[in-house]
Amino acid sequence: MRNYVLADLKRIIKRLPRIIVMAIIYAALLAVIYAAYKNLWTSITFVLYVEQYIAVLTTGLGLVELITVYADDFKAKTMQVAIGIGIPRRVVVLCKVIEAAVLTLIDLLLFALVAFAAGAVLHAGLETDQITEILISLLKVWLSVVSYVNLAMILMFFTQSTGPGTLLYLALSMGILNMLVSLLAGIEEIEFLHLDNYMLTTFIKTFTTRLMIGNFSAGALIGILVYIAIGYFLTVFLFRKRELEF
């Protein structure tokens, strides 16, 4: 498993279109910080502008991971080789989960590095609380990307293409699915179930908001992990007997 993950990570990190897209994302971050600098330069403005940018990061970053981790693989059918040389299908799926999580983490750490370096150069004067706030927002993006990608993976592995999974990812990251469930939750007959409380976005929001005030919500974390586990096990279940083409 370690070799599979490392081989893929090496290949993906060196992928030129990915490097260009990530460079654009970081350049846009610098532009946002510069806009804040030109507006009213305080640490509060810095945090406000960076947080606004982070809010749209889930969709953009997730799409990058979907394409680089999954699309190339489905197209080249390299996972068929992995299975053919004896790597169990459940391990193949797990490798993809790990790759998406690691790559997103690397991207977000670089994002933090760029943001804080720019803040330091421009003397933003960030306080510890503000640094923590930005880091927790990035953690929220990481949890969102990892869990949404995991759910999108169910469709991708089943259809062996990224199209349907990407649509599901967009519906999740842009809050469309969330909105639908909220509407359903409002129906009188099922209102008592309080479906809103069990939604993935609620768990992520609760977990990160609590962290922001110094509390650790084990319940919310378990909720997130359950969603990630559902994504993984359902993918393995649907993929385990899926016919694969050469």
Binding site: N3, Y4, L6, A7, K10, R11, R15, L16, D72, K75, A76, K77, T78, Q80, V81, A82, I83, G84, I85, G86, I87, P88, R89, K241, E243, L244, E245, F246
Partner: protein
């Protein structure tokens, strides 16, 4: 008795109502070059897919090596070329490096070694720019990575020119004789397969209808070829006339003839 490295017993597989494999029995022996012969849709590819774990089967038993039914463990002994599973933007060598790491092969010179075996010397350009022949060679090179005990080659000569076809034949024979690799190979070019393999499994209607050897082909070719229209009369006439027959050449039937005689159809169809 030869050691069986892959064994399929009564393997059945269907897609919905369409039965593709009707109880395939197949034993591949260590050191074999086994040719799998059959028309399109006969089930050859499905057999390969099942061996490689890319397709499930409804009933039957399969064993790879002496791994006690642990197929995933058994598959570690197999190298295969069944399609072009390469990233188009990576060079041939980078693709092999990717697989070297995936297959956990510690020797960093392995990609170079297999590229030399298949005589692919332009592995530094992206895979997408490769000709069909280069792709085939790279595919075979990938199958050879890590010197597997068993080699599966699905139509490895597709799209190759006569020289390329001959090269693949020599390569397969060399891998078998020098490195002791067991090879399972399928090809539509029956004449070529006849020159390469030791045994042949004829796949028809979802079963291995018959397994034959090179010897069977020779025995089956019991016709005597003389350049006359009526042999008996010719012999009689020749004998009566006091003319000796200097040469009667025994004809060996080709695999192609044997195949079409068994399953029907026409050579030129």
């Amino acid at each position: 008795m030869s050691e069986t490295v892959i064994s399929l017993k009564e393997i059945k597989k269907s897609y919905g109502k369409h039965q593709v494999l009707n109880g395939v029995d197949l034993d591949i022996n260590k050191g074999d070059i086994f040719g799998l012969v059959g028309k399109n849709g006969a089930g050859k590819t499905t057999i390969f897919k099942i061996i490689l774990g890319l397709s499930d089967y409804q009933s039957g038993k399969m064993q790879i090596g002496e791994t006690g039914g642990n197929l995933e463990e058994g598959r570690k002994k197999i190298g295969f070329f069944v399609g072009f599973n390469f990233f188009p933007y990576l060079t041939g060598k980078e693709n092999l490096e990717y697989y070297r790491q995936l297959k956990n092969i510690p020797d960093k010179g392995e990609a170079e070694r297999v590229l030399k075996i298949v005589e692919l010397d332009q592995a530094k350009s992206p895979f997408r720019s490769y000709s069909m022949g280069m792709r085939q060679r790279l595919g075979i090179a990938n199958a050879l990575m890590g010197s597997p005990e068993i080699l599966i080659l699905d139509e490895p000569t597709n799209g190759l020119d006569p020289q390329g076809i001959a090269d693949v034949r020599h390569l397969v024979q060399k891998l078998n004789s020098e490195y002791g690799m067991t090879v399972i190979i399928s090809s539509h070019i029956l004449g070529e397969l006849q020159n390469t393999a030791h045994r042949f499994g004829i796949v028809n209607n979802g079963i291995i209808q018959r397994v034959i050897t090179q010897e069977d082909l020779k025995e089956a070719g019991n016709a005597v070829r003389i350049k006359v229209s009526d042999m008996e009369r010719a012999r009689k006439v020749l004998a009566d006339a006091g003319i000796d027959i200097l040469k009667e050449e025994q004809e060996t039937r080709s695999l192609e003839d044997y195949y079409f005689n068994l399953v029907g159809g026409e050579k030129n169809a």
